[in-house]
Amino acid sequence: MKIAIMGAGGIGGCYGALLAQAGADVTLIARGAHLAAIQQKGIKLIQQDSDFTVKVTANDDPSQVGPVDLVIFAVKTYQNAEAIPFIKPLVADDSTVLTIQNGVTSAEEIGREYGDERVLPGSAYVISNIDSPGVVRQRSFPARVAFGEFNGELSKRATLIQEAFSDAGIEAELSEDINRALWLKALYNSPANGLASAARLAPKDLIESAEGASQFKLAIQEVADVATAFGVPMGEEDVQGANDLITKRPMGARGSMQVDVDAGRRLELEAMVGSIGQIGRKVNVPTPIFDVLYTVLLPHINGNSQND
């Protein structure tokens, strides 16, 4: 299986390094100093108490790579508008594009360009970041991924992709209800990143104050109400589960968008926060907490100019 990773940053780089180390035919699409380092020395993945470096093809130009069987689409969601058409040379009739981005809307966006039949919605469950050019540090173990067909079918291609992940030591769940899996992630990920970014405080530290806990409760319930009205029912147990996940986070562990807001970088605000309000308006569910989160974070959506 010929695989291209579009966006070899913290998440894409981690999966790419693991797949390459297992012998898969992987090409990383990356840019700048990170690309140069990978081309020169291979990609290095630092894990708990070990690390490895693996030689891997890397390029910033998809037309030099040509069609692949699988594109793992792992850029930040705010890059979608440019990155989706950019991968055209990678996508042939029988190619599959698997998105593992944050939020619940990316698969649809990719489907509009390449047809829903070429798209697999998915979700990454790993904390990982670029340490320095060519070097990625994985912070949660094992790396996990969930994905599935829009219609829930356990298709041949999905099963093959699952095998490729498993061979690389990535825990891969082939979901018969991937929409539910995506919303379950959004149920904790959107409140955790939204509130923590607004408060400039790690989710677990914030939820420990009574005031913070009550905002988390309201925010999680808003996502649950939107999902339910959108046709993805979320019950009390799901809400409690999201709350527990935030409570159980390691003390001080920041969400990815919070890391970006602290560093003055561009934010995945639309995918993490804005989309909840937008979908809420479509299904007539008010989202007052997400509206205020969006309002107070919007001035920072493009980061500080000096960090661009």
């Binding site: 509130l195 400039r200 914030l206 005031e211 913070g212 107070v296 001035p299 920072h300």
Partner: protein
């Protein structure tokens, strides 16, 4: 007039400097490096229309000052608990206290300790800060409004106004000073909340339509709390205030500056008070509750 300034920071220091320059017997109550600098070099005031240095008595101990005619109470609200009782040595038979703090609760708190009839609630509009120890910079000429809670046409209020005006301080007597406090509070608590939560200065933030609406929503909440508590307030206040803010040059609300610098903040006297006073009377305040929850961790200085 014999005047003590309790809290010679930006607002108190500026007023004290002007009053001293006009020949009043002023004592500044201050602390630390600021106090030492005032003692050594006098107090320097930099205003848009010029600067001056004035020699003025300064101490950290009100007992050294003794009874005065007028106290201007200008410490930050979070000092109230430790400071109010220390005012007692300044109190004589006819001492008046003008409370010039943010929020709407100070005059009641002062009255409960020092006698309600001695207190004249006041509000100020100013942008002044301690630039370096002993040096106060005022960006906008300050303006004061104060008055008696119940009495009208009080002679002491007229005397005090004359002292202010003779010192070049714009001062008005209000027949309903609590209303004036609320008018300022509604605008100030909401703008402090929204700019602190968004970590963005007022001028830039209010260019975002969502942020304008949020500022209006926050003012509506505080207004509803005030109206429910029987304060005489106009429904037009919120829209008029937004239009007024639009006419001002870009500025930073003090609480936002305090959060940014990792200092102790007046969150409890602002959004905290909107929530508290609303709860007492059954008015919901979701926007201020949001501000409060995301700002609370940093309220006494930046959390790690």
């Amino acid at each position: 007039m014999r005047i003590a300034i309790m809290g010679a920071g930006g607002v108190g220091g500026c007023l004290g400097g002007l009053l001293a320059k006009a020949g009043n017997d002023v004592s500044l109550i201050a602390r630390g490096e600021h106090l030492e600098a005032i003692r050594a070099n006098g107090l320097k005031i930099i205003r848009p229309d010029g600067e001056f240095i004035v020699k003025v008595d300064a101490t950290n101990d009100p007992a050294e000052v003794g009874p005065v005619d007028l106290i201007l109470y200008t410490v930050k609200t979070f000092h109230n608990r430790s400071v109010i009782t220390t005012l007692k040595p300044l109190m004589g038979a006819d001492t008046s206290i003008i409370s010039l703090q943010n929020g709407v609760e100070s005059h009641e708190l002062l009255g409960s300790v020092l006698g309600p009839s001695n207190i004249l609630p006041g509000a100020y509009w100013a942008s002044a800060h301690v630039q370096t120890p002993g040096v106060i910079s005022e960006d906008v000429l300050s303006k004061i409004s104060f008055g008696e809670i119940e009495v009208t046409g009080s002679l002491r209020a007229l005397d005090i106004r004359k002292v202010f005006r003779d010192a070049g301080i714009e001062a008005d007597i209000s027949t309903d000073p609590v209303q004036v406090l609320w008018q300022k509070f509604i605008v100030h608590s909401s703008l402090a909340g929204v700019t602190s939560a968004a970590q963005t200065r007022a001028g830039e933030l209010l260019q975002f339509p969502d942020a304008r609406k949020m500022f209006l929503d926050a003012m509506e909440e505080a207004l509803a709390v005030g109206i429910a508590r029987g304060i005489n307030l106009s429904e037009n206040l919120t829209q008029e205030s937004l239009e007024w803010i639009d006419t001002l040059p870009d500025f930073q609300v003090s609480m936002h500056g305090d959060f940014e610098a990792g200092r102790v903040t007046e969150l409890d006297a602002l959004s905290g008070a909107v929530i508290r006073l609303g709860k007492q009377i059954g008015v919901k305040t979701p926007v201020h509750s949001f501000f409060y929850s995301v700002l609370l961790p940093h309220k006494d200085g930046r959390a790690v």
